[in-house]
Amino acid sequence: MLEAKNLTKKYGSYTALNKLNLTIQEGEIFALLGQNGAGKTTTINLFLGFLEPTEGSATINGVSVAEYPQEIKKYLAYIPETVMIYPNLTGIENLQYFSSLAGFDYSKKELADLLSRAGLQSQAFEQRLSGYSKGMRQKVGIAIAIAKKAKVLLLDEPTSGLDPKASNEFSEILKKLAAQGTAILMATHDIFRAKEVATRIGIMKEGNLQSVINAGDISANELEALYLKTV
């Protein structure tokens, strides 16, 4: 579903991402761990088509991101660290706006259902986002991804700043989406969340993917030790 072949991004003499080779299958959650500047966000931006690779290629569902940036949009959704969407609009209105821009015209009932599937409480649907907590806004972000029936979900530090309960709820939703066949690439600092939610975990350092581990083959403590040793 998601594939990087020798994917490289350089800024002059600085290499932000160096020859990344990675494949993420349908239903898989791949967590990218690494310090700031390790190349996690660069990887996500390359898959989103916001950066042009210096070398190599990124493909989604077999379509080159660099060559067909508009085409790949129909497959993917993106959730940033904080979903700071329109504060003057309600949850329903925000979802309606983004889904209509994805080409979907949902009824109000369908929009409410999508927000429910993303884990948002029904009493929040008609509230303006200015009154939402960070966790609630992330759920609207998830709802936007569900609404456009994205096959690929790219997340950049999605649980950063969430309280443990909200973070846990978020993980559960990701697992559900993966179970429905969505390929998920998640950049995170949160080792324990990565271990808890991901199928596979990659550790990055200075633009290089140093190691890839099956989450089931390692304990949280071992992962932490490996991470600290790597970075």
């Binding site: 931006n45 989103l48 088509g49 916001f50 950066l51 042009e52 508009q70 949009k73 129909k74 993917l76 959704a77 993106y78 959730i79 940033p80 660290e81 904080t82 979903v83 700071m84 969407i85 329109y86 003057n88 609009l89 706006y97 983004f98 209509s100 821009l101 994805a102 080409g103 972000g141 936007i144 456009k148 950049d156």
Partner: protein, 479 residues
């Protein structure tokens, strides 16, 4: 390109502005200032024209009440003519406050236009007046900056632009939607107000409202609509090129200072330094020099007038001026008038040519500054521009020349050469003369004069959309 997405984004932009309190608070302030400017402008122009009409009547009455007189004395009695303010001058004061509105016409002399507001003020006019046009030209762009500076940069800053770009709409569709949404807000908030203000003001200030009045009003509103679109495109473009809302605000405020203060002031200074105009003393001295070179009617040995004398004697087949069937003194005066008027007109045309060249710098710079374009064309359509003023001067000189010529004609035919100074003619002779009435430039003339500025506005619109297209094609402006 999908129009549906552009419409959705534009609608969202519209909703988000109307749901926020700050734009509405800003609009309320501008609305009050606009209404105040329109009302004071309308009141001032109405009062001014009333006072002027009363003065015109008084001058005419004095002229008509002159008793039997020698026609040359009548020519020196003089006549004051006035330029009524155009009905649309309440909207755009233009140069009206700095150029005069009346001129004293008399024989042998081309007096300058006097009685400007600036000449009768404490000098504070130098810092500008509050007119409706000024609000729309200068303050509305600030309003657009404040409601639109974060329109794209704000989305970039909080990551929403990435979410938007992951939907089906392209970056160009997003930028166009934002531009249309913001423009629609500005149009709805300001153009109906402007249209109603112009129509009501014109109807109240004008004796005759004709189709040209409506076309002028329509054109002004249309061109201001284009101007707001240009400013909005600039705001959206800067916002799209900035990484944060703070950066876009700073850049736009700097741009506002550049486009609304630095470039307009520099344009005038540049024009004055490239095309140097003589001062008033030098201008009048040059005319005097040329007149004395051509012929001095008061010098009996002047070759030009000696030639006139001999050719006149030959024409009538007599050997002395006393034997002429016409008054030779009047003939000499008319010849002197012909010479001075021709020389004045030549010098004046040259001077106006220099002033026009100075103004052309501002017109050509409107390709770099849309404010200059709308300022110039707005003045022109409102009848408060430099061309209207020079037209007034030309018409007054023509009128002065014709009036003096008529009086010289009376002198020539009705006053005997002998004992010339002691004769009088009936007052009916000058009572029948036509009154001066300034004919403003036609709409076609205004549009012809403002062609460069019109072209600049249209090029700005086209270039603006091309810039938005360019920005949308660059990945670096998406992050």
């Amino acid at each position: 390109m999908e129009l549906k997405f552009i419409r959705i984004i534009a609608k969202q932009e519209w909703n988000s502005i109307f749901r926020s309190k700050i734009p509405l608070a800003l609009y309320t302030v501008l609305l009050i200032v606009s209404l105040l400017a329109a009302f004071t402008g309308w009141q001032y122009v109405g009062k001014f024209n009333q006072q002027q009409a009363a003065a015109r009547e008084e001058v005419h009455e004095h002229w008509m009440k002159q008793p039997e007189r020698h026609p040359h004395r009548v020519a020196h009695y003089g006549y004051l003519v006035f330029r009524e303010k155009s009905p649309l001058s309440f909207f755009d004061f233009g140069l009206d406050s700095y150029v005069g509105n009346s001129v004293f016409l008399e024989a042998h002399r081309q007096n300058t236009v006097n009685m400007s507001e600036a000449g009768f003020s404490n000098g504070m006019l130098r810092f500008g007046e509050l007119s409706m046009a000024m609000v729309l030209q200068v303050l509305v762009p600030l309003f657009i900056i404040f409601i639109g500076f974060h329109t794209v940069s704000g989305l970039k800053q909080n990551g929403v632009l990435k979410i938007l770009l992951c939907q089906k709409a392209s970056y160009l569709e997003i930028l166009l939607g934002k531009t249309i949404g913001l423009t629609a807000v500005t149009w709805v908030l300001f153009l109906p107000l402007q249209l109603i203000g112009l129509l009501v003001g014109t109807a109240l200030l004008s004796d005759t409202v004709n189709s040209e009045s409506f076309i002028r009003v329509g054109l002004i509103v249309l061109l201001y609509g284009l101007y707001f679109l240009i400013v909005t495109i600039l705001v959206v473009a800067v916002s799209a090129m900035s990484r944060s809302a703070k950066t876009s605000l700073m850049v736009l405020v700097l741009l506002w200072i550049l486009l609304f203060i630095v470039v307009p002031k520099s344009a005038q200074t540049l024009g004055n330094s490239i095309f140097e105009a003589p001062d008033k003393i030098a201008f009048e001295h040059a005319i005097e020099m040329d007149v004395s070179k051509e012929g001095d009617s008061h010098n009996p040995d002047d070759p030009h007038f000696s030639q006139l004398k001999s050719s006149t004697l030959k024409k009538y087949g007599v050997d002395s001026i006393q034997a002429l069937p016409v008054n030779y003194g009047a003939l000499v005066m008319q010849e002197g008038e012909n010479i001075s008027s021709r020389i004045f007109n030549n010098h004046y045309d040259k001077l106006i040519g220099i002033y026009k060249s100075q103004n052309s710098v501002s017109s050509y710079l409107s390709f770099t500054d849309p404010y200059l374009a709308i300022r110039n064309i707005s003045m022109s359509l409102s009848g408060t521009d430099f061309d209207t003023f020079t037209e007034f001067q030309k018409q007054t000189e023509k009128y002065r020349f014709e009036k003096t010529k008529n009086l010289n004609e009376i002198h020539l035919t009705q006053i005997k050469y002998k004992n010339d100074g002691n004769q009088k003619v009936s007052a009916k002779n000058w009572q029948q003369q036509k009154e001066f009435s300034f004919q403003s430039l036609s709409l076609t003339d205004n549009l012809r004069n403002g062609m460069i500025n019109l072209a600049a506005l249209l090029i700005w619109v086209l270039a603006g959309f091309m810039v938005l297209n360019f920005i949308s094609s660059k990945r670096k402006y998406q992050l």
